[in-house]
Amino acid sequence: MKKNLSLFGLIFLSLVIQTTIVTNLPHQQAKPDLLLILTVYLGLYSTPLAGAILAFLSGYMMDIFSGSIFGVQTFSKTAIFFLTILIRDRFYIRSPLFQAGTIFLFSIIEGFIIIAILGMVSPIENLLSPFFLFIIPRSLITGLVGPFFIALIKCVPPLSHSGNP
């Protein structure tokens, strides 16, 4: 419970940072998605039910602050959480390098999920344009920031000894 509350606090804090400091960074395209990193963390270290609820909430909260179609981030973050759960026992993703790669890959997948949903709601003419303009730079920076952010999360006392659920 304490761990899940701490995680919720972290989600809230990350959301505040994401909507204030990160949005004020100079390069609009290359901004790390802290909540995606947190979702991957949840997938790696949380129980399926608690993690799913927190991932769902993190996406939901992102949606509140996004100008896009409501629910897109909720869906994408929840999907990323379950994808992480799916691979966490099959691949070794505890080392920083593999974490960076996984976060990069999941960031791209999330980009595709969002584009796909947006495409279903209102057709997008050129799908490759947002891929190169936003998804790749954003995924790269998120992948780079990921291991550091996860290391920071592990510094929070209730989460410092996170192991396999």
Partner: protein, 281 residues
């Protein structure tokens, strides 16, 4: 049966959760797609809760940003300040050099004008040293026997007489100033033509001695060389009477003279290489 169901649930719980949560998310999209502007209570509540935190973080980051900007500005200002200080120093040095050149130019023009007044041949010389002792008053000039300087030659400046050559070496000469105790110059008071002997007193002043008591000497009278003795040309300025000492007894009167030549500021002098008596027009 129940145990079997629990077992199946445990086995597929991740998939079940995935289906439930993803479906819920899709339903959320579906429910909001036609009501983009509608704000649910939970959305409104979350926005309200987040607002003060966002404001605090934004305020802090702005303050930090301003602080960093100010610091960068200060660093730039400091750098600019150092460069400007350096420039000011350079300009001051240049200004000082130009002033020095202007003063030197004026001084040389005065020397030139003065040299034209002296009828005989003269040799300009630079003062290269001053007697370090407090008892003797001598200077060292950069002309010696190689330049035709001989012992006893008169040394003058545009303002007045300076002294005479005491010792010579090939490239320099020592000049005994008229302020030295051992110096004496035959002089006259220009206005009254009263004769006397100007002797040094070791300071920057001289005394007019052996002037007959009956002679008319007044404060401010100009004292010039008499030309007697053959060392100094006649009519060279020595100084002005500053103080008269006439006692009620004795044959002579004495007077203190403020010298025309400012010995503390002398830089160049002229050596009169003509040894025969000449008269200043």
């Amino acid at each position: 049966m129940v145990a079997k169901e629990i077992s199946i649930f445990r086995r597929y719980r991740v998939s079940i959760f995935a289906v439930i949560f993803l479906t819920t998310a899709l339903l959320t999209i579906s429910s909001r797609i036609n009501n983009v502007e509608r704000l649910a209570f939970i959305d409104w509540a979350l926005l309200e809760i987040t607002y003060p935190f966002q404001k605090a973080v934004t305020y802090s980051t702005d303050a930090l940003g301003n602080l960093i900007d100010s610091y960068v500005l200060l660093v730039n200002l400091k750098r600019e300040n150092v460069a400007l200080r350096k420039k000011v120093t350079e300009l001051r040095e240049e200004n000082s050099l130009l002033r020095e050149r202007a003063i030197a130019s004026e001084r040389l023009q005065n020397l030139l004008r003065f040299s034209k007044k002296i009828p005989g041949p003269i040799l300009p010389a630079q003062i290269i040293g001053i007697d370090p002792s407090s008892w003797f008053r001598t200077i060292l000039i950069d002309k010696g026997t190689k330049h035709g300087v001989e012992r006893g030659m008169a040394v003058v400046s545009p303002e007045g007489i300076v002294g005479h050559v005491l010792q010579t070496s090939p490239h320099s000469a020592k000049v005994l100033l008229i302020t030295d105790f051992n110096s004496s110059v035959d002089a006259i008071v220009q206005r009254s033509r009263a004769k006397g002997l100007v002797e040094g007193n070791g300071e920057n002043r001289c005394r007019l001695k052996y002037a007959p008591r009956a002679e008319d000497i007044q404060l401010g009278d100009r004292v010039v060389t008499s030309g007697l003795g053959g060392r100094y040309p006649k009519g060279l300025m020595v100084g002005k009477i500053n103080k008269i000492e006439k006692k009620s007894y004795g044959l002579f009167q004495q007077a203190e003279i403020i010298l025309s030549a400012n010995f503390s500021k002398l830089e160049e002098v002229f050596i009169i290489t003509e040894t025969r008596p000449v008269e200043i027009p």
